[in-house]
Subunit: 198 residues, 2 copies
């Protein structure tokens, strides 16, 4: 590693100038780009390296239509017009993979028989992974449009019928955002409002 | 914005070479650094700009000791020896802030009277915010050590007694990680294992 901090331009790209998009330029996101996003996102930390997220990248017209029919009306076009829309799901049985994902402790036994603990950990850590994925996409020159207005159960049945322990949790369209379609950024809180330094 | 993608060095810094730390160099994290982390992290997207995360930055010896007593035995030193340890909490009544955080729709009404929906949204979106916070800390040259082994209820009572709708969710030590204290990185999955491209 030869840099200690990100440049101002880099911070702009992934945080300060980045926006959530609903409108997209007609420009493909390649399979290689999708895999490059994942290769970065998977490096982010999860508790005991659980990696509970399960991603379905809907890129074909057919897949996007199958997904859009479970979305709220306002979100359908945000899926159909995007180059790709990824379902961020999680595996309630992620612990079965811990023997190889976290080989230096018997982490599987921490979750065996405790479905509530698995659900909480899968939910929290797959959300972290989805955040890494969005930052990774931005870092690679793409834009994101995350969404939670959709039928989770219907989407779970539609896409995870073969994986009864997977759950669909939220969605994120990815592509090249059309800046002419967005409004001013919503306000951000001052430090003192939601932070305490003690 | 004058850059379209992050450099390889920048990607190494925030994803590929970054590691979770338990051991810390004896070097302060300043209040200004803490505020700079938040100024970046708050720019990340949350659903309807909910910003449900509530952060308590434990920097004084007294605050770290109050927190460490609620941690699992293996996590106590990871809190006490770190320059700062932040509690990532969330506000179950985040919706009360939506009139100013999301002024262009009546988003408060979507959550009024539905505590389960608020809990799910606060949990998911505060996790996203915690992920942004970790990436922001790394981007500013710091290291992170996230933890979930602690008593959430006890910590909630200890730090949020004055805010009955806040909940402590997870912890993250922040400082300058000591690379001599870490082992090899745990394995990361190949794309095909946990992804489907359709």
């Amino acid at each position: 590693m030869t840099t200690d901090t990100l440049s101002a331009d880099a911070l702009d790209l992934i945080f300060r100038d980045a926006r959530s998009f609903n409108g997209w330029h007609d420009k493909e996101v390649t399979d290689d780009q999708i895999k490059a996003i994942y290769e970065l996102a998977k490096m982010g930390p999860t508790s005991a390296n659980q990696q509970p997220a399960r991603f379905v990248w809907c890129k074909s017209q057919d897949a996007k239509e199958r997904l859009a029919k479970h979305a709220s009306e306002g979100n359908r076009d945000k899926i159909l017009t995007a180059p790709v829309c990824v379902i961020i799901g999680y595996d309630l049985d992620f612990h079965e993979h811990l023997p190889w994902l976290f080989p230096h402790a018997d982490a599987r036994s921490w979750f065996e028989g405790d479905r509530d603990a698995r659900r909480e950990s899968a939910f929290r850590n797959s959300a972290l992974q989805g955040a890494y994925l969005m930052i990774a996409a931005r870092a690679l020159g793409l834009d994101c449009g995350p969404m939670s207005g959709f039928d989770q159960d219907g989407t779970t049945r539609e896409f995870f019928a073969d994986q009864p322990n997977y759950r669909a949790d939220w969605l994120c369209s990815i592509g090249y955002g059309d800046r002419s379609t967005i409004f001013d950024r919503s306000p951000r809180p001052e430090f003192d409002r939601f932070n305490r330094l003690t």
